[in-house]
């Protein structure tokens, strides 16, 4: 079992781990020949976060070898990984490899930085303890399958959304509920009801990206939805899809979204909220996060 690679896009990897460490303490990292996949399954089973990075978006000289189809599964401490990547922020070069020190398997991050005093670089090594997972341990974990969403909407400016969300969360408390409604006419509503107040925010003129163009997503094909997208009637376009999510969970979703350049929210009426975060600067899907949240039935 071998893994080593040079990292050419440290900031992207740092942003990703920073976002995911908001969601959970430990994550499942799958390395294979084409991409790396970092998954967080928080306790409570209300949500799942799946991130996906193409090798060339972050790594160079990437090499992974293992007995099971060159796939390596690791359990990693996200905050520790994030912290160690931060010390690479001013690095001239950085590389990562799987190694073993003592009895503990480690992801070893080697960073070289030029210092002020000399041209001779300092070498920083950060060893992150990991657990190697057997293929059968992770074989039962799959991406959740959700029905084709009724609404697909681009989220508004993330800093603004975050500020408003924080207020909502404070209002309804940590175990409160926040309702999101969106339609295909570019409207997104956020609603909260607490003991004494009822608040609602509404954004208009948002983009509605077409559902289903993305190769990464697998939709459970429902009835009636075919290729008729652009022919949808005004009434259909104005119909709201509605989800109700835990306030704390929504706050996490927004924090994860803030790491991205472009975020699409898919609303499956009364079923689930799926947030699709494009991480890379070009906004392409070489580095993405999928955040699944189940909707509470109202």
């Amino acid at each position: 079992m071998r893994f080593k690679a040079g990292i050419h896009n440290i900031s992207l990897l740092t942003k990703l781990t920073g976002a995911l460490s908001v969601v959970g303490k430990a994550g499942w990292l799958q390395l294979n020949d084409e991409y790396i996949q970092l998954t967080v399954l928080p306790e409570g089973n209300h949500s799942q976060v799946w991130s996906h990075i193409n090798i060339d978006a972050v790594f160079i000289n990437y090499k992974v070898v293992s007995a099971s189809d060159n796939i390596i599964n690791l359990e990693i401490p996200l905050d520790t990984l994030h912290r160690s990547l931060k010390s690479a922020s001013s690095a001239s070069t950085a590389s990562i490899r799987l190694t073993k020190k003592g009895t503990i398997p480690m992801l070893s991050l080697t960073i070289t930085t030029e210092s002020h005093a000399s041209m001779n670089p300092a070498i920083i090594t950060q060893d992150i303890p990991v657990r190697v997972l057997a293929p059968q341990t992770v074989s039962h974990i799959h991406k959740p399958v959700v029905p084709r969403p009724e609404t697909s909407v681009m989220l508004p400016t993330l800093s603004q959304l975050r500020g408003i969300t924080d207020r909502y969360v404070r209002m309804v408390g940590t175990n409160g509920r926040i309702v999101l409604e969106g339609n295909m006419s570019g409207v997104l509503k956020m609603k909260a009801e607490a003991d004494a107040v009822k608040v609602e925010s509404e954004w208009r003129g948002l983009m509605n990206p077409a559902v289903g163009d993305d190769g990464e997503m697998e939709w459970e094909e429902g009835e009636g939805h075919g290729e008729e997208g652009e022919m949808a009637s005004t009434m259909e376009r104005a119909a709201f899809a509605r989800v109700m999510v835990d306030s704390k969970e929504w706050a996490k979703v927004v924090r994860v979204c803030a790491a991205g350049k472009r975020v699409i929210a898919w609303l499956c009426n009364n079923h689930a909220l799926v947030v699709y975060v494009f991480m890379s600067d070009d906004g392409d899907n070489k580095a993405t996060i999928n955040y699944y949240v189940t909707s509470f039935s109202s």
Binding site: M1, S84, G102, S108, S115, H116, I123, T125, R131, L133
Partner: protein, 558 residues
């Protein structure tokens, strides 16, 4: 009654605050020691493995400094007055010593220095800002009313007055022999601080070593973890620096010492608050203390940190010889200190600390009589002097030249004033005992350069990884690996003793601050000492080990 009046500028208050918050990271109490020309702030951590001394000079740091010792304590029968509670430290110079909870002091000085704000009307932090600070001591015959009074003169004529209670205290100081400092390096504080930021908050120990032209700082943990706990294992960070980064770097080959990361970080953080200051570190082998010093504008800082060897005294060594505890017995003059330190000795090593005796029992400081006449010693006393009273094991008798020295032979020549009560054990003899190697080659009086480069240490297979990264092959479950790890630790223990103390006691104790002090005030106060010496020799009887006479003199004479 001692008189103490200090006036500080706002900037000095801010620097005092930084110093106190650094001290607060080590201990709960700070010991204030007022002298004629300076104020010493000291603290000792709970495991007695770190001692911090921050000295502010009366002239350069303070705007005004006036200390008049209590005349009644300056009398001509200085060391041992009839009043048993007088500490010799106080008597000798009349220094005023007290201890105060750091947490009580910190808020008094916090945020008092405010740089000129852009908008004076609206800047609320200006409310905190002061124009000057006066510290005075209100010591009364009636002990109930004794207070340390701190007056803060704020804007618009507002005066804030803090009256703090204090307790009587002993002076504790760290011993650091000049010859321990065979390895030394100097680096800019800001630079070191930048590197230390890479270490995670959970890092435990820091190994400092060097190879060829590079210095190496590596954090490590000795917790043995398995299963799901593996992910909680702290981040292991290693930083390799070119020696060019250092202003000076003279370290014997293959010297590795380990210290507590938090202590080191606390120190570096404080040094980083001083502008462009150079940090100097001096240390010997693992097991001897490390002394780190820096100074700027009338503030002298001296940190004495106990070092140890990586892998030693770890959990795996539980069933092994316990040199740590043994040394603690040697070092501690107060039983309590020894006990508490021993309790903590699994984690941190023995303290390089001696307590200035105060109780009537410990006041019976012994004459520097050579070993044999000294009578029965506590079993904790130094090895070579204690040999007659300790039933020597066969291996000890055979292997340790110095152990037999005091019984049948004259004491080892070079430490001319080997004093049993000094309670020091030589690094050489002690480590050779536990390893069973002949000590004949390693007398305690070994030349220093030799000592520094004496033992090439075997590679620490546990932590240093193989160079060839392509060979890191392993399966999901490291089956036999755990045993290997423990084995590695045990090997480490066998290899060298954890703590080794040098017995060359006649060498001068070098404290950075003391040197400063001597330079400033070389001629004063030499009178008390001879009398003390005489007094002391009459006392004759033997008590637990304590510091040497000349060490005492060096410390408290001005």
């Amino acid at each position: 009654m001692s008189t103490l009046n200090i006036t500080l500028s706002p900037l000095a208050v801010d620097r005092l605050y930084e110093a106190l918050s650094c001290l607060a990271k080590f201990g709960d109490y700070v010991t204030l020691e007022a002298r004629r020309n300076k104020l010493n702030l000291r603290t000792l951590n709970s495991t007695h493995s770190a001692h911090v001394l921050i000295c502010v000079a009366g002239d350069t740091f303070c705007d005004a400094y006036n200390f008049v010792p209590d005349p009644s304590k300056l009398g001509d029968s200085p060391l041992f007055s009839s009043n048993g509670s007088q500490s010799s430290a106080r008597v000798e110079e009349g220094a005023f010593v007290c201890k105060i909870n750091v947490k009580a002091l910190l808020p008094v000085f916090r945020g008092r220095y405010v740089q000129e704000a852009v908008n004076k009307e609206r800047d609320e932090s200006l409310v905190q800002g002061i124009e000057k600070c006066e510290i005075s001591l209100h010591e009364r015959e009636n002990r109930v009313q004794c207070r340390l009074v701190i007056k803060l003169f704020c804007r618009h004529g507002v005066v804030k007055i803090f009256k703090l209670q204090y307790e009587e205290a002993d002076i504790m100081y760290a011993t650091f022999l000049k010859e321990w400092g065979v390895n030394r390096w100097t680096i800019r504080a800001g630079e070191l601080k930048k590197w230390m930021e890479h270490f995670g908050p959970k890092a435990e120990h820091l190994d400092i070593g060097s190879e060829e032209d590079r210095a190496n700082f590596t954090s490590f943990s000795e917790k043995i973890v398995d299963g799901a706990q593996i992910l909680k294992h702290p981040l292991q960070t290693s930083i390799e620096l070119d020696l060019i980064e250092f202003h000076e770097f003279q370290v014997a080959r293959d010297t590795h010492i380990a210290i507590n990361v938090k202590d080191f970080k606390a120190m570096v953080t404080h040094a980083g608050t001083l502008d462009q200051v150079q940090i100097s570190a001096a240390y010997g082998e693992a097991g001897q203390p490390m002394q780190v010093t820096y100074d700027q504008n009338g503030m002298f800082c001296e940190f004495t940190l106990m070092t140890r060897k990586k892998g030693a005294a770890g959990p795996a060594g539980a069933g092994k010889a316990e040199p740590v505890a043994k040394i603690v017995m040697h070092r501690g003059t107060s039983a309590a200190a020894a006990t508490s330190a021993r309790a903590g000795s699994r984690e941190t090593s023995a303290p390089p600390i001696k307590v200035q005796p105060q109780s009537s029992a410990t006041r019976k400081v012994n004459t520097p009589t050579p070993g044999p006449s000294a009578g029965p010693l506590p079993s904790s006393a130094s090895v070579h002097a204690a040999a007659p009273s300790i039933p020597p094991t066969a291996s000890r008798a055979a292997s340790s030249k110095s152990a037999s020295g005091s019984a049948e032979m004259p004491p080892p020549p070079p430490p001319l004033r080997v004093t049993p009560r000094s309670g020091s054990v030589s690094a050489a003899s002690d480590s050779s005992l536990s390893r069973g190697t002949p000590a004949s080659a390693r007398q305690p009086s070994l030349s220093l350069g030799f000592k520094g480069s004496l033992q090439p240490r075997p590679s620490q297979s546990l932590f240093l990884m193989d160079e060839d990264d392509d060979d890191d092959l392993f399966g999901p479950t490291p089956a036999g690996g755990v045993d290997d790890g423990i084995e590695g630790l045990l090997d480490d223990l066998d290899d060298d003793d954890v703590l080794g103390w040098d017995a060359s006691l006649d060498s001068e104790r070098v404290s950075f601050v003391e040197l400063q002090e001597r330079a400033v005030n070389a001629d004063a106060g030499r009178k008390a000492a001879p009398a003390a010496e005489k007094q002391e020799s009459e006392e004759g009887s033997y008590v637990g080990p304590t510091q040497r006479r000349d060490v005492v003199k060096g410390l408290f004479d001005d």
